[in-house]
């Protein structure tokens, strides 16, 4: 589309070298590679997901393939308890993770924004898990949680807990164990973004507040927090979507188990399509996930009045 519009208006060949005259085609040429990539590998797949969600489509059972109407959706909402379980777990996972990450991230950012001896090394260490991948995080926490030589063994040596405890295979502890592992890597995300924004608060404001006798808490409430609002809203939103969608960590750490205890909706979709080859049904579940994501992001943008600006 972008190209068509560009071709429609060939620019008059410039007589003199007047660089300030903008060739009309240039912006279209510049966005064309990005636009084409996104059309081919994001827009087209999304549309095909919508299409398949209305089909029975399973390469291993081709005789049943064909138009299914809304059957896939009806099945999900009325006949598939696993769908509701995974949806509930996703919600719980996102709320707990994002809430705790924001809390700790904000606190950490405020701390490392102070002037103190060892600040730069402190920052580097605090931020370091941020770049650790989901799979590597899993590997590290598998080492920590394993029942024979993990931390539980050494805790048991000190008289805390029992030998042979495996937090990842016990349904009563697996959620907390996974939450802690993901927190370890997720907190620095908020800390980095909030710290970056903290650095753009004008120092004059604090000085003025100080002259007026404002306490440190008042300064935080009335200067820092309003300044950070946009950054907090944006990072919370992005992180919530990211936590909802991210499957690396849970896939490798718990595999969604034990007994489906930690299966999020995207993990369930992946299992349905990759293992059960039920592409039609998986597409319907994906469509549901899209609608949820869209719905929440619109509400969120409205509530925070973030959508008001140009960006």
């Amino acid at each position: 589309m972008a190209q068509a519009a560009a071709v429609a208006k060939p620019p008059a060949p410039p007589r003199r070298r007047r660089a300030s005259a903008t060739p009309r085609r240039l912006p279209y040429l510049l966005i064309a590679p990005a636009a084409l990539l996104m059309l081919g590998f994001i827009a087209y797949p999304v549309i095909s997901v919508f299409y398949y969600s209305l089909q029975n489509y399973n390469p291993t059972k081709p005789w049943r393939n064909g138009f299914a109407g809304l059957d896939n959706f009806t099945h999900a909402f009325t006949n598939d308890p696993q769908f509701w379980d995974t949806l509930t777990f996703s919600a719980k996972w996102v709320v707990v993770e994002v809430g705790l990450q924001l809390l700790f991230g904000l606190a950490l950012a405020l701390i490392v924004n102070q002037t103190f001896v060892g600040r730069s090394i402190g920052r580097a260490l605090v931020f370091s898990p941020w770049a650790v991948s989901g799979v590597l995080t899993s590997a590290i926490w598998v080492l920590l949680y394993n029942s024979q030589t993990g931390v539980t063994r050494y805790l048991a040596d000190m008289g805390i807990g029992q030998y042979g405890t495996s937090w990842l295979s016990d349904p009563s502890t697996v959620f907390s164990a996974a939450v802690v592992a993901d927190l370890w890597r997720g907190v620095p995300f908020f800390a980095i973004l909030i710290l970056a924004d903290l650095q753009s608060v004008s120092k004059d404001l604090y000085e003025a507040a100080e002259v007026d006798g404002a306490s440190r808490f008042q300064q935080f409430r009335n200067i820092t927090l309003p300044h950070l609002k946009d950054a907090i809203v944006l990072s919370t939103l992005l992180r919530a979507v990211w936590e909802f969608n991210n499957v690396d960590l849970l896939y490798t750490l718990t595999g969604g188990g034990p007994a489906g205890e930690t299966t999020t909706l995207p993990l369930y979709v992946a299992n349905t399509s990759v293992e059960a080859h039920n592409f039609g049904y998986a597409s319907a579940l994906t469509t549901v996930a899209f609608v949820i994501l869209l719905f929440f992001s619109i509400i969120y943008l409205r509530l925070s009045k973030f959508g008001g600006g140009d960006k």
């Binding site: 996104m38 002037t115 991948s133 004008s202 994501l293 960006k311």
Partner: protein
């Protein structure tokens, strides 16, 4: 509130800085309020790192809490027997290619968004914002079908393309912000001096974008290096797989070789550590929208 801040900030950066007389509030925070929570958090952050180092360097079967006597057996095993040498090379290809592709495409698009008004601009911006909510994980099946049609299954190109596409929207938004921070008058001055648009961009704008581009580029590299799902799905040959897939294979074995897993994890982390040690300085400045300060 915010609107009141903005002019104050501009004034501050415009006027020459004067030595401050008022004592700043943050100088008065009691030290223990900084060091105590920071110390506790650092224990939580660092124990997992120590743990993986411990398992990687101590001999198999040891339960000592210090990696001594030290051994490199696990590294040797993982690099050769578990083919991490091959995975490493593949991951480097994927990371570097994604970095270059993402930065170049996002730079072109970001420049258009920052400097031109054109018909589909708003629609394109909206598409960029919306596509951030589209999860790659949920598009695995259609993407697999596309790459199958393009005969790219089992080639690193599929992973590179997929990683680039999902990095693009955010990278482009960030870069267009960085470019907007460079006053257009700088470019116009260069045009007057006889530069064309491209050379003005290269000579005047590009150097000022350096912190931002380094941040965006290293994000692209690290993300592609770390990402797991696309490689798992699109690459079936063992000789084509990447480090995260190799790690997952180690973890999902029937009896996990913890020493090899730890060594593999460290191999996976080394390039990321190097990148971040290198860009630490630019990381915060790059993202504080102050790409042109100083």
């Amino acid at each position: 509130m915010i609107t009141e801040i903005a002019p104050a900030r501009e004034r501050e950066s415009a006027a020459p800085q004067q030595p401050r007389k008022v004592r700043r509030a943050w100088d008065e925070v009691p030290r223990w309020q900084i060091y105590l929570p920071l110390g506790i958090y650092l224990v939580f952050t660092l124990i997992p790192f120590y743990w993986i180092l411990l398992f990687a360097f101590r001999p198999a079967g040891s339960t000592s809490l210090v990696p001594w006597p030290m051994t490199l057996d696990h590294f040797q095993k993982v690099w050769t027997e578990r083919s991490f040498g091959v995975y490493f090379q593949n991951s480097v290809y994927v990371g570097v290619a994604t970095l270059i592709l993402t930065t170049v495409v996002a730079l072109a698009g970001g420049y258009a968004l920052a400097r031109f008004e054109f018909k589909v601009k708003r629609a394109f911006m909206l598409a960029l914002l919306c596509s951030q909510f589209v999860p790659g994980a949920l598009l695995l099946v259609p993407l697999f079908q596309i790459f199958a049609k393009l005969q790219m299954i089992n080639s690193l190109g599929s992973v590179i393309l997929a990683e680039t596409v999902f990095q693009l929207p955010l990278s482009m938004i960030l870069i267009s912000g960085f470019i907007r921070n460079v006053p257009q008058s700088l470019e116009e001055a260069a045009w007057v001096d006889g530069c064309n648009r491209f050379s003005a961009f290269r000579i005047v704008v590009l150097p000022l974008l350096r912190p931002g581009l380094i941040a965006v580029g290293s994000f692209a590299f690290v993300h592609a290096w770390n990402h797991f799902l696309f490689a798992l799905m699109f690459l079936s040959d063992q000789s084509k797989q990447t480090i995260p897939v190799g790690l997952n294979t180690l973890m999902s074995a029937d009896s996990v070789d913890l020493g090899a897993l730890a060594a593999g994890g460290i191999v996976a982390a080394i390039p990321v550590v190097i990148v971040f040690a290198f860009i630490q300085k630019w990381l915060i400045t790059g993202f504080s929208a102050g790409a042109v300060k100083g």
